[in-house]
Symmetry: C2
Subunit: 277 residues, 2 copies
DNA sequence: CGACTTCTTGAATTAGGTCAATCCCTGTGG
DNA sequence: CCACAGGGATTGACCTAATTCAAGAAGTCG
């Protein structure tokens, strides 16, 4: 397993980082001090750091620098040594894993405030590939130094555990989505999920940009690109949403919710076991 | 989200724990001292504890007791306060999450040596329901005391992070599986995955017991129970496997691998973006 | 202003879901 | 010890939702 995920699959990507990752030579002076940090997933992490020791010195040791990636830019690749964790400040990032067969599955769409790359903690390698979906600004955090600091501050460790368990919950939700058949339900749930997340970040929950292409959305949800289009069209005809390219407006959240939660028919219920005896 | 997962869905299960959870009144004396512990997922955790302080006293504080669950027994339920983490010593456990619609998705099949319940770290609630698939013996570990100890021993924290990142990797693999359509591929990959895991635990990689019913397998892989049967039959006709009820023998691992990794046709490849320019 | 990519829509095809009947165990009780 | 009940597994027939192939429209970018 994990032989050539995203590597052989996309051989031409080698040079992308060098070309796209514009290193802003702003040596992390106020990186975690401004208003934007409040909305950042590592904020509590930064805060914990700041509380315990000399604020600047520690922050500067751990938060390496702010990077900007252009659309399509590669943050990291699967199986690459995981030297850094990335906190998204603006923009969006998709993560995907790959198989030997060259098949690729998008496993995440990440919005500002989220942390990427922590899953590689165990193996010291990234478990997936991460790519900017639009111009995206991130904080690059040194894994090693983060660990060194965490060694002394249990609060950091606890924070990391929380972030990971959040990631696990996210995956469980996604599995739930992929397990239940129907394409309409998947898309409805997808839109609702996005809406919720945008709301959390104080963006409009009813009009936003799907930074992913139809093809990516299809891959993410386990359906064909064309099906995504067709369902969007159907939703539109029913007045539930409006789409124009990647821009979406949700008109009838309730209806979407109804579609997403429709129990539908049967659907291989797992046996309760131990019911009788 | 997460309103009544597994609770309203299976209302009759209330009494299951009381009936099935046979509390062995063996006050954790040698619980983490025997040979079996070497194969346990928390072994390193236990070891770390033992290295640093008075072995028995700490272990007894943290590892509450050994429990035995019968087939169908409920270890914990989603949304329940997560007081304990469970290490599986023998047997197997399935975990599942549920939706408002009463739909349930099996998210994991857990074998001896694996740790359950850590995902609830963040919210202090279990994120899923866990149920024994056969007579299963577990170590029950107090979450609170584990944390208290971890506070003083960063090694424990690091271990927990590793376990969680392993869980994340597992989910990524599962997503990959659910994303790629074809039922044959799913089942082939499922069998191979099990085979690998059994091998890790020094069980036979070519003949083992699927502790799950066809229905559970279907739910886990996102296909209908009947399709599971049909594909198994097809595999059998081709001489790749033999099944008898829940017992399976793999005859041609290579062929299975070929089926699992068959790139197949198209399959909504995510756009590389930034490919041309 | 092209060249490309992404999106959309149509038509044909099919994998897999659904329903239903039957078989086959396993465990139970007479 | 044997017959029976009930749950799981299997198989067949049918049908629907979604994939696939194909072609064209609509943006985007250099």
């Amino acid at each position: 397993m994990w032989k050539d995920c995203g590597v052989d699959a996309m051989p031409e990507m080698e040079a992308t980082l060098k070309r796209d990752a514009v290193v802003v030579p702003l040596a992390a002076k106020r990186v975690c001090g401004a208003v934007a940090c409040r909305d950042c997933g590592v904020y509590r992490l930064c805060a914990a750091l700041g509380l315990e020791e000399d604020e600047l010195s520690l922050l500067e040791r751990v938060v390496k620098r702010k990077l900007i990636f252009k659309r399509g830019g590669l943050l990291f690749r699967a199986r690459e040594p995981a030297h850094y964790v990335y906190a998204i400040r603006s923009g969006s990032v998709k993560t995907c894993v790959g198989t030997e067969g060259g098949r690729v599955q998008i496993t995440g769409l990440h919005l500002p405030g989220e942390l990427l790359g922590l899953a590689g903690f165990d193996s010291r390698e990234y478990t997936c590939e991460a790519r900017a979906l639009e111009t995206t600004s991130v904080c690059q955090v040194s894994m090693q130094q983060l660990e060194e600091v965490a060694e002394r501050l249990p609060a950091i460790h606890r924070e990391m555990l929380c972030i990971m368990s959040g990631q696990i919950r996210h995956y469980e939700q996604l599995l739930l989505l992929l397990g239940k058949r129907n394409a309409e339900r998947r898309l409805a749930a997808f839109l609702l999920g996005l809406s919720q997340r945008f709301a959390l970040h104080r963006y409009s929950p009813t009009q936003f940009n799907l930074s992913m292409s139809r093809s990516d959305i299809g891959n993410y949800l386990g359906i064909a690109e064309e099906t995504v289009c067709r369902v969007f069209t159907r939703f539109q005809e029913e007045g539930v949403i409006t789409t124009r390219r990647r821009y979406v407006e949700l008109h009838d959240i309730e209806r979407l919710r109804a579609i997403a939660h429709d129990p539908g028919r049967r659907a291989a219920a797992p046996s309760a076991l131990a019911s009788g005896t």
